[in-house]
């Protein structure tokens, strides 16, 4: 007679690892643009319009935030989308970074 016996070693689940991955995907990444003294204000506005498809008013608002506060949070997105945005901003030579949202 075949008897189902419990295996000696049960497959383990590391809740910490799963949780970290889930958090990273759920909360996403922040795309931040930083101030610098070289990029022209009209140029920064133009780039925001191009990269994010924003109207002039919204692009100008973020440009002024960069200029006056030193940085502006431009988007909250998945890792892939945030990478795409930051890469586009770099192609236009703006100082942009991404970081995990807390």
């Amino acid at each position: 007679m075949f008897v189902n016996a419990e295996p000696m070693v049960l497959p383990g689940i590391d809740p910490h690892v799963d949780q970290q991955t889930k958090e990273a995907h759920d909360s996403g990444y922040l795309v931040i643009c930083w101030d610098d003294p070289v990029n022209l204000m009209d140029y920064v506005t133009h780039v925001f319009q191009k990269v994010f498809g924003w109207n002039r008013s919204k692009a100008e608002h973020h440009m002024m935030e960069v200029h006056q506060q030193g940085k502006s949070l431009l988007a909250r997105a998945s890792m892939e989308t945030a990478e795409h945005y930051v890469h586009q901003l770099h192609r236009y030579n703006l100082h942009a970074t991404m970081e995990k949202a807390q």
Binding site: P37, Y43, E83, N93, M98, E99
Partner: protein, 156 residues
């Protein structure tokens, strides 16, 4: 330099001989900003998930600049003088894509010059204590900014 708007974001720029030579002398300096200048992460953040993407994007940036350099060379060669009223003019037709392309290239040169000059602030620039060997770089930075401003005004 004259800018004639034609609607739908299209416009013509008319440059005299001196303006065209200035634009050409700036554009042939492309690329000026090192392809690995930017990073996805800030200096304090070393997210391992992003490090690999960062390396890949830097490599892609270098390839992008190589392609652009060829495009710039071809574009300069495509612009020919037009004789009229006893003077030479260079007419540049721009649609939104061409304008964006020119602005991006001019900005690469402007930022690259700024980096070469050790990232001066506007106050540093105003002080005027510059070595003679820095003058051509300062000239290229200012001229590329001036052309950027003119094109951006035409686009708006």
């Amino acid at each position: 330099m004259k800018c004639i708007r034609k609607g739908d974001g299209r416009f013509d720029m008319a440059l005299d001989e001196e303006e065209w030579q200035a634009l050409k002398n700036v554009l042939i300096q492309y690329p000026k900003t090192p392809a690995d200048h930017h990073s996805l992460m800030s200096k304090d953040d070393q997210d391992p998930d992003l490090r690999e993407s960062d390396d890949w994007l830097k490599e892609s940036g270098s390839q992008h600049q190589g392609e652009r350099k060829q495009q710039v060379k071809a574009w300069i060669e495509s612009i020919h003088p037009v004789e009229g009223d006893g003077k030479t003019e260079y007419q540049i037709e721009c649609n939104p894509d061409r304008a964006d392309w020119l602005i991006e290239i001019l900005n690469d040169i402007r930022v690259g010059c700024w980096l070469s000059l050790d990232c001066p602030t506007p106050d540093d620039l105003a002080d005027g204590e510059w070595k003679r060997e820095d003058w051509p770089t300062m000239w290229a930075m200012e001229i590329s900014g001036m052309f950027q401003s003119v094109i951006l005004k035409c686009v708006m």
